[in-house]
Structure formats: structure tokens, C-alpha cells
Amino acid sequence: MTVTENSPTLSENEVKFEELLAMGAKIEPRDWMPDDYRKTLIRQIGQHAHSEIIGMQPEGNWITRAPSLKRKAILMSKVQDEAGHGLYLYSAAETLGADRTDMLEKLNNGKMKYSSIFNYPTPCWADMGAIGWLVDGAAICNQVPLCRTSYGPYARAMVRICKEESFHQRQGYEIMLTLSNGSAKQKQMAQDALNRWWWPAIMMFGPRDDQSPNSELSLKWKIKLFSNDELRQKFVDIAVPQANILGLTIPDKDLSWNEKTGHYTYGEPDWEEFFEVIRGNGPCNKERVSNRREAHENGQWVRDAAIAYAKKHAEAALSKAA
């Protein structure tokens, strides 16, 4: 018996891994995978999960103030879904050997990031409409292809998330539609919200392809299936006619239809602002993270109690059985 039979060399593992990817087969938790594949996934799934959890706050702020009972119930279930989606994603990350408690700790102390979009404030009810329509709309463009991503548990989590999220964008658009068809003041609220959320939504797809350091490997490993710019274009093409139906104006003076390409041409976002928000200098970065940390710290005694109770009663059950 040769040594290589029992412990295949790295290249043999790599060959197997590449073969699976080429076949379009999913990589599953206990398969061999390159370290960087694992790390990239943990980073991406973790950031995605954190985004769902932090994303509860800008909308959670309006649950207690929603202007009708129907809207309140919808918003409650939407924010609840976000907690659920965070958990599905942590669950996927844990299959890679990451630990949710560690990941949340890294979120709390700023060592892991979340989507910058949630660092913008929600001062107005119309923001609930704009978030659902634009932020969830952009998220859907990103997420639908992820249902076919190469890592099995991530793909399965995304299938569930996309299925559940289909109402999120619709409810947001419906809020915008109601406001746009309402009083002049309501229509102005809707336009203001669009003005504030349009560029952040455009930037949700990440830096331009020529500036995106992690994209190439992610595409090769089929973690990502489309580039940032491809997805951004798709979003713009979908969103412009939706804005027209609302009778609202997208705040981009360079926006125009290009007959030749069959796509909309759009202006360049303020990337300086984007990187500032990523660096932690957005309007709400500190508040979002400190709220999260506070919830975690205030819950510590509750979790301790539950663990102490479980331990006591497991011991009692054991001594009864003995």
C-alpha cells in the first residue's frame, strides 16, 4: 500500500474539487475544499447573515409607528423574516466550521462587515416603501443567482430565502404606489425617499468590476455567477420602468435609454461616499452596531439562565434514570 492511496496529495483533492464544480455538482459540508474557498464562503455568508440581522433595525424602527394595522402586521412579519433569514445563513456558515457566537461577536466588535445600505437612516414612513422596493429589489437581483451557487447549504438557504422574500419587494412597492397616488405631501415623501435610497441601492452591488478584488476567484469557484456590474445593470433596467409607473423621478441626470445596447445607461455613483460608509463613517454605523451589542449584552443573563436550567434538569433526569 502506498502512502498516496490513504492520503491523496493536495493536487488530487483539487482535481476532484474542480471536477465537481465543472460538472455543476454542489460542494457539500464534509467535502474537501480549498482553504480560500472555505474562507471566502464564511466571509460572504457571514456578511450576508449580519446584513439580515442589522437590516432588522432600520425597518424595526417603524414597526411601532406603522400608520395602519395592515402595514404594521406586514412590517412585523417582514422584519421577522429578516431574523429568520439571518438564522438560515448562520446555519449554512456553521456547516463550514464557523461558529455563530463567534461571528456575532465579530459583528459586535466591528471585525466583520455587513451591507453598508443599512447604515442609512429611515426618518420617514416612505423609507419603508423605498427599502422594500429598491433595497429588497437589489437584494433579489443578487440573491436569485445565489440559489445556484456551488456550496450546497448556501444554495439551499438562498432558495428558502428567495421564496420567502418575494413578498418583501411587493409590499414596499405597494407602499410607494399608495403614497404616489395619495396627497401631494405623500407623493413628496415618496420622491424624497427615492432620492435618498437610489444611489445607496445602486452601490449595493459593490464596486465596479475593475475595482472588485474578490470577484474573480468567486466567479471561478461559482460562488458568484454574475459580476457586480452585470447585476447592477439588470437592476437598473428593471427599476426604471417601475419608477415610471409610480410617476417618480430617479435622481440620475445621466440616466437614458440606449437603443443600441438595449439597456439603460446610468451615472456614476459617489464611490467616495460608499467607501466612507464601509470604513464606518456612514450616518448610522455606530448606532446600528451598538444597538446590536446592547441587545446581545442585555440578553446574556437570559441565555445564562436557560443554559443553567438545561444543565440542572439534564442532571436531574440522569440521576433519575440511574
Partner: protein, 96 residues
């Protein structure tokens, strides 16, 4: 007394309807079995996805090693006579 690591991990299996097997849905954190069942209900059946739930501590699951795939599963591949299509029967035979 502070538990840095938090609650243990549980795997959740949901039966979506009578007559169907329980299927793995995902995992969650809970301090004990009773809490795990309630959390599973709240997390994985918000849209009437289930009629029955199993929860299992994740560390109690014993899994086969993917490197054993050939040893464990390839030997079944040449036992074609286990499948009904292996047998050639006269065309006149309509039902079997």
C-alpha cells in the same frame, strides 16, 4: 456564570404533510429540547411548512466520511439485477 459560547446547536427536521418523510430544514440554537422544538416551530414553520418537527442535537449526528464514498457506495453500482429494468420480458405481458 457566563457562557461565552451560547446555546448548543440543533438540527431540525420537518414533515411538511402527512404521508411524507421528515426532511432536514436547517439548524438553530437552543438551550434544551423543549426550547429547540419551540424555536423550530417559530423559525421553520412560519408559513405552514410543517405538521411535525424533529430536533436533534447536532453533535449527536454520526455522518459518513465523504472520502469513504467509493468504499461505501460504489459496490452497489454493479448490482443491476436489483432494478426492475434489468429484466427483459415478453412484450405481450402488459402488467407486471
Amino acid at each position: 456564570m457566563t457562557h461565552k459560547k451560547g446555546y448548543p446547536l440543533w438540527e431540525v427536521f420537518i414533515r411538511s404533510n402527512r404521508g411524507i418523510d421528515h426532511k432536514h430544514a436547517g439548524s438553530l440554537r437552543a438551550a434544551d429540547a423543549e426550547m429547540a422544538l419551540q424555536n423550530a416551530r417559530d423559525l421553520y414553520t412560519r408559513r405552514s411548512e410543517g405538521v411535525s418537527i424533529w430536533v436533534v442535537p447536532s453533535n449527536q449526528i454520526v455522518a459518513s466520511d465523504p472520502d469513504d464514498k467509493e468504499t461505501l457506495f460504489d459496490p452497489a453500482e454493479d448490482k443491476v439485477y436489483r432494478h426492475p429494468t434489468f429484466y427483459s420480458l415478453p412484450d405481450e405481458l402488459e402488467h407486471m
